[in-house]
């Protein structure tokens, strides 16, 4: 069995500004900030990557031992999956080219994911129902 690959959920929109990812979940109305080494992981997830590939890429860019990085990546992937920001699949895929660190390594900061739910009430009051082919409105989520 191949290792699961992770990629960003199609339900989100996101931008990276000032080394911080802002991601908005269009299905729930929650939004997120990802900082520390999180944006480096996020960039890799954009093309789809396995946990091992992410760990290896980070180890080549940051000053930290492999175990510390692997543990941090594992925690973050769990949080991202729980928040529906990433999806995983078991399908064997083309390994995405993982950019290694070409320059000097930089100090490692654990990824920091923060969730904001202050728009949620508004979102729940004003949900969108998509019309499907049978004419039934279904929640957009």
């Amino acid at each position: 069995m191949s290792e699961p690959r992770f990629r960003l959920s199609p339900e989100i929109v996101h931008e990276t500004v000032d080394g911080e990812v802002i991601a908005i979940d269009l299905a729930s109305g929650s939004y997120y900030s990802l900082a520390g080494s999180g944006p480096a992981v996020w960039e890799l997830l954009g093309g789809g990557a396995s946990e091992a590939e992410i760990g290896a890429a980070l180890a080549s860019r940051f000053e930290a031992d492999g175990e510390t990085i692997a543990a941090a990546v594992s925690v973050l992937l769990g949080q991202l999956q729980e928040s529906n920001l990433v999806v995983s699949d078991e399908q064997p895929g083309e390994a995405a080219p993982v950019a290694g660190g070409s320059g000097e390594k930089i100090p490692f900061e654990a990824p920091r994911l923060e969730r904001y739910t202050d728009m949620k009430d508004y979102f729940l009051l004003d949900p969108i129902h998509e019309v499907d082919t049978a004419g039934w409105p279904r929640p957009a989520a």
Binding site: I22, L26, Y31, D118, Y122, D126, E130, V131, G135
Partner: protein, 368 residues
Amino acid sequence: MRAAPPDIASEYFEQLRGRYEQAAAATGGAGTLDLEMAGLRLGLRYAGEPLREALLAPFDHLACREAGDPDLMISLFDTASTGVAPPPPPWEPIAAEPGANPVVRLRSERACVLAAAGSRALTAALPAEGVAVFHLPDAAAIPASERAAPIREALQLLMAARGRLMIHAGAVGSGGRGVLLVGRGGSGKSTLALSCALAGMEIVADDYVLLDPASLAVHAMQSTAKLTEDSVARLGIPTGAIDAAGFEPTFEGPAKALVDVRGLAPGCLSRRLEIRAVVAPAVSLPQTTYNGVESRLGEAEPVFRAISAAQGLRAVAPSTIIQSGFGGEGSLAALADLVRRVPSYALELSPDPVANAAAVDRLVGELG
């Protein structure tokens, strides 16, 4: 090979446009209001005066008297004054709990249909073709959400197709340059925007503007602003300036009333401002005691604090995108570009609206 599925969104648009034509004929021909909005010519055609009076007066300040073909056209009708109902929907209607406004959306590559179950506003548009139709059951009973931001969905769809993005923000300034006031409902945007207008500054809007991402200019839509009872009292707004409908419940929180900036601060309404900074107002809680010393409301000075571009983006993007009801990919990228190009600040507000307006005016002057 399978046949392409029918485009029921386009079909519904065409049916609704046909009903509009019937409604216009039933009222002896459509009225037209020609506007210049965000550098585009926008024609508003309406079947029957009741709809025009109730919904379109806040656009009068953008009236354009020169002849010319419109770039965008929105046609409006209601059933009560024309006797013409919209076509039966191809979707199963949904119920709305009191205070909620769920939206049924039907989309295709060409067309978008939005039916709000709470306000019962119906919008169908062909964005790339620059045309939309808007329907309400009764022009004499306009829902509060439509009074505050008339034909918002239609404008959003048509303007987005022309590269103007509707942003959930206010904008005030001086000399054609200004700041974007951002934050979710209740953060103090409207009160601060009106404080600035009452102090003689230029105001584009308190709640929604159209952003041209290339020039970072924002453009005006309606001339009305929405205030809570507390804000009306703090700004000393005379009762006569408040819309006759009074304070109406809003979907997002406390009751608000409409005020028309044209009457309240004559000459301050601006069509366009170039944005030099993003400002997120925050109402700081009145501190009653600090180290045993009483601090009275009214003593605190407004304070600007530089915040990161990411914090600025967090203050403006979620409510813009979540309220938009559409993907929002383009809006988020444009807003990210905005906060990269101009500084962002948090503004801890003073209880004194005059002091807050003076602080914003100073910032605009310093940013040049």
